[in-house]
Each structure stands twice: as C-alpha cells, then as structure tokens.
C-alpha cells in the first residue's frame, strides 16, 4: 500500500504542490497590481511555443519545448506591452489580441505538421499528464535515501523543484521592492527603484512559473493556480507577508486534495477509472476560493480602492 502510494502518487502530488506554489506566489502580486490575467495570457501562448520549437528541432524533447514555451511567453509579454503603448489600448484587450492570435497561429501550424508521426497534441498541452509522472523503482520510504533509486525520479520533479526554489528566493530577496512597486509605483521611482524593471521581472517570473508548471499540470490549469490560492489568501489577512504564506498553504491543500479526489474519488462511486488530476486540483482551488469568499475573515474591502 505504502509502496504503491510512493510509486504512483508521491511524485505527482509533490509536483502538483511545487507547481502550485510556483504559480501562487507571483500571483499575489499580480492580483494586487490588477494584472491577474497575465497568467491567463501566458498559459495560452505555451502551445504555439512548443509547436514552433518542434518545427525548429524536429524532435519531441523536453528542453527545446520548454525553451520554445519560454520564448513564446517572452514574445507575448513584449507584444502586449508594445500594443498597449503604441495603440493606447487597455491592458485586457491588448492581452486578448495577443494570446488569441498566437494561439490561433499555434493551432494552424500544428495542423500543418504531420501529427500522426509525432505525439504532440493540443490536449496534452492544455491538460497536462500529472498521473504519468510515476516513480516505479521506489520500494518504500527507504527509497528516499537511496541515491540510485532517487535518480530514477521523473525529471519534471527536479525541474519544478529548481523553479520553485528560484521563485521563492527571488521573492524573499526582492520583497521590499516588490511590495513598494505593487503599492505605489510612482513613489517607488522617486526613491530610486526602477519600477518598470520590477514589473517586467514579475511578468518574466510568471512566464517561468507557467512554463515550468505546464509540462506536468497543463497550461490551462496553471491559470487557476495563479489566481485562486492568492485570491483566497487575500480574503484571509490584511498583511502582505501572511497573505503570501496563506496562498502557499492553499496551493498545497489544493494539490493534495485535488490529486487524491481525482485518483480515489471515482473508486468511491464504483468507477474504476480516475479523472484528470490537474482538472480536479483546479476545481479544489476554486472550492477553497468559494469558501473564503463566503467565510474569509477579511473578505470585505477596508479602504477605498483605486479607480
């Protein structure tokens, strides 16, 4: 039983948790800056990114695809900014133009390539494949201390550990700058903080989190993790630091319960097949948000909001 859990469930749950944290932490600042939907935009352009990477390299392998996705995210962010400034278009509409346009391009190219030979499909990019990230060599808890067996852990786990660590340490290091730029951008500039660099870095971090998470949990579900845990956390406290911690807690809860319900829930109803874990994680995060909307101690505004 334990061995089975470690073989089939431990890594997916860990990856789900780490992907959730990687998205939820930058999500706190995006929500406060009224940019929550940038995560949405970036998640959609992951598809054209991997398609183009495939066209260039001709092989399905992870690293080029991740680079392609990151490149597409970068292009999208720059295009959004350019269209916003050049066309004087409000941010939401500029995002809408860019990500739908790039998504259409991705689908078009995908249909042009011979998909029978390669296993590159839209659904995979959208839905992820959390369930397949298993650790067959594991024999029990003792495997956690066996280097040879640890080496057989899925690469996705190592990548997401790295990305999650990277994002958490940047957040800690740049905490003060992030906080002041999010609160009062103009003032931040007068005390010598380059607001535009911080803003751009935040978007880049968002892109890194989205790309790292998409390969395991799927790109669309990433949006839920960008928004639901931090939004729920926003309703729990009036202190930014505590809000970020709450968002991490909610991301962990969503990942664990989402995975367990997806994997074991159908069994309770007499069905043998499990349902999409990534989808269920998103649903659980939504339920958490719904609960905080109704019962969160700080769910109501305390001060007049801007605009």
């Amino acid at each position: 039983m334990i061995t089975e859990f470690i073989q089939f469930s431990l890594t997916p749950i860990l990856i789900g948790i780490l992907a959730g944290i990687s998205c939820a932490v930058p999500g706190n600042f995006l929500i406060l800056k009224r940019q929550a939907l940038i995560g949405d935009a970036i998640s959609h352009v992951v598809l054209p990114g991997i398609v183009i990477a495939f066209i260039f390299t001709g092989v399905i392998s992870t690293i080029p695809m991740l680079l392609g996705a990151a490149g597409a995210a970068l292009v999208a962010v720059i295009l959004i900014e350019v269209i916003k400034r050049l066309g004087k278009i409000e941010p939401g509409a500029a995002m809408g133009v860019v990500f739908t346009g790039m998504f259409a391009l991705g689908v078009l190219i995908l249909e042009q390539t011979d998909t029978s030979k390669v296993h590159l499909d839209v659904e995979h990019a959208l839905m992820g494949n959390l369930e397949s990230l298993i650790w067959l060599k594991a024999q029990g808890w003792q495997s956690l201390f066996d280097l040879d067996v640890l080496k057989t852990l899925p690469d996705e786990l190592f990548r997401i550990i790295f990305v999650c660590g990277f994002i958490l340490s940047l957040t800690v290091i740049f905490w003060r700058w992030l906080k002041i730029v999010t609160f009062d951008e103009e003032y931040a500039r007068t005390i010598g903080i380059h607001s535009s660099i911080i803003n751009f870095s935040l978007v880049i971090i968002t892109a890194i989190a989205a790309v790292a998470a998409f390969e395991s949990v799927g790109s669309i579900i990433v949006i839920a993790m960008f928004i639901c845990p931090p939004a729920a956390a926003r309703l729990m406290t009036n202190k930014l630091g505590i809000q970020v911690i709450w968002s991490i807690v909610f991301a962990i809860l969503a990942a664990i319960f989402g995975y367990i319900i997806a994997g074991y829930g159908p069994l309770w109803f007499g069905s043998e097949n499990s349902v999409s874990a990534a989808g269920m994680i998103a649903v659980v995060s939504g339920i958490i948000l719904l609960l905080t909307c109704m019962y969160g101690p700080c769910r109501e505004s305390v001060g007049q909001t801007k605009d």
Partner: protein, 266 residues
C-alpha cells in the same frame, strides 16, 4: 508649534529647484508648455492654477514619472538625474489602492528603503525614526492600523510621515490639503513650516486660493504656460489671478482674497 507664529524671515536666494522650458504632452495634447520656474531654498512655494493647468504633471515630470518633451531640471544647480535622493515626493492620496494589505508603520518604513537597502534589516534605529516621523504628524498612536481603516486626513499624514522619513532637502507635495479635515490641515502645515525653519524647501500643488497667503511665501502660477512667479506679496495679485484662472475666477471671490485684513490674523 512656535515656528508657526514666528517664522524667521528668509529672503529666498538661489533656486532649490530650477525648471527651464519644461514641456510635457499626452499624445498631441500639451499638458504643460515651456514652463520655467525657480523655487527658492528654505521657503514654502505653492503651485497654483485651474483644473487641467498641468500642476500635477509638472511635479511628475520633475520626479521623472512623466516623460518630458523638452526642458531641463536642476536641483541646487545640479542636473536632477543623479540627485533624486534629495527629493521626497508626497503623491496625491487617491493615487494608490488603500485596500492594500499593509499597515501604517509599514508605509512609513518605505521611506527608509533607500537607507536600509534591499536586504538590510530594519534595526531599532530605523523603527524609531519611523515612529518619530509618525509622531511629528500626530499619528503615533495609530502605527499598527491597517491603512484602509484611516480617514482621508490620516492617510495624507501617513504619506507625509513617509516623506519625512526620507530626510530630504526638497519636499514635493501634490495637493496635500485636498479632502482633509481641518485638524489634519493644521497638522500638515505645522510640519511643513518646521521643515522650512530647518532650511528645507517645500513645494506644493495647492488648490485653495484662500489659504495661499497664510501658508506660502512664494508662488508659481501656471495655466499650461507660465503666468507669473515670485514672492507672494508681489505676485499673488488680483491681476495675475485673473490671467491664471480667466473667467473661471469670480470677481467677488478675488476681492475676498484681497480684503484689507488677511484671514491669517484670525
């Protein structure tokens, strides 16, 4: 309190902030056009003009938030670019989201970020500086309060305390008295006058013509372009007000301003 009633006479000499030919446009609309100004050291200067005259734009262009089309800006005869730390800016109260998850002392400590750097610890010295600045604006009791729970006047005072924490030479304030209660207005003006007595320069966008004479000793009157600039007694005249505000200023209102006895003596 003593310095409010007995302000030492300082004859302004040499500009704290010098602006030459500053032009800013939004698209093809000119917000301010070729504005010159010389705000003196150790004095209180007001920037006045009707709505849409470009007063806030002027401040934003000075601190570099708003890109300028032309013009030079100097602080104590040096280009502003490397001297921004001599400036403390107090933005309009409505420019931020007061529902932001933070409290009073946190906001004031933002004024110390340049001093403590990115990772430097807020030592007890910094904490006491922040508390002292809060005390100067009469807000020390509320240091732990969530910022959203403050009244408009209290919010304005927190912003002023944050600027005080920067310990700058020049204080730029954007409509500091807009929508605040009488107690706050009094508290703010006391703080500003004490800054002046320490040879700091205060420059504020101001909208209440009735108090210009009481509060300030130098004035820049603009309506997109320069209208007039100089010491209050020479410059804040009926004639200049008429050309600044045009038909927008009722004559009766103007006459009230120049009634024989100033309201300041009340």
């Amino acid at each position: 309190m003593s310095n409010t009633t007995n302000t030492p006479e300082i004859i302004p000499s040499g500009p704290a902030l010098k602006i030459d030919g500053l032009t800013v446009s939004y698209g093809d609309k000119t917000a301010i056009f070729a504005v010159d100004a010389n705000f003196p050291i150790a004095s209180m200067s007001a920037i006045i003009g009707p709505n849409g005259a470009g007063k806030s734009t002027l401040l934003k262009a000075v601190i570099g938030v708003q890109p300028k089309l032309s013009g030079q800006i100097h602080i104590f005869d040096n280009p502003i670019e490397n001297n921004l730390k001599k400036i403390a800016y107090v933005p309009q109260r409505v420019s931020v989201d007061w529902d932001f998850p933070t409290n009073v002392i946190d906001v004031v400590q933002m004024g110390l970020y340049r001093q403590v750097g990115l990772l430097g610890r807020m030592k007890s010295k910094q904490v006491s500086i922040a508390m002292e600045c809060l005390d100067r604006v009469g807000m020390a009791d509320l240091w732990q309060k969530q910022i959203g729970q403050l009244s408009g006047g209290q919010q304005q005072r927190v912003f002023l305390a944050r600027a005080l924490a920067q310990d700058a030479e020049i204080y730029l304030l954007d409509e500091p008295f807009s929508g605040v209660d009488a107690v706050t207005e009094r508290a703010i003006i006391d703080v500003l006058k004490s800054l002046k007595s320490k040879n700091k320069s205060v420059i504020a966008v101001h909208h209440d013509l009735a108090t210009v004479r009481d509060y300030f000793d130098y004035v820049l009157m603009i309506n997109i372009k320069n209208i007039a600039e100089g010491l209050i007694n020479d410059t804040f005249t009926n004639e200049n007000l008429q050309s600044t505000y045009g038909g927008k200023l009722e004559l009766t209102h103007a006459e009230q301003l120049f009634a024989p006895k100033d309201r300041a003596t009340k």
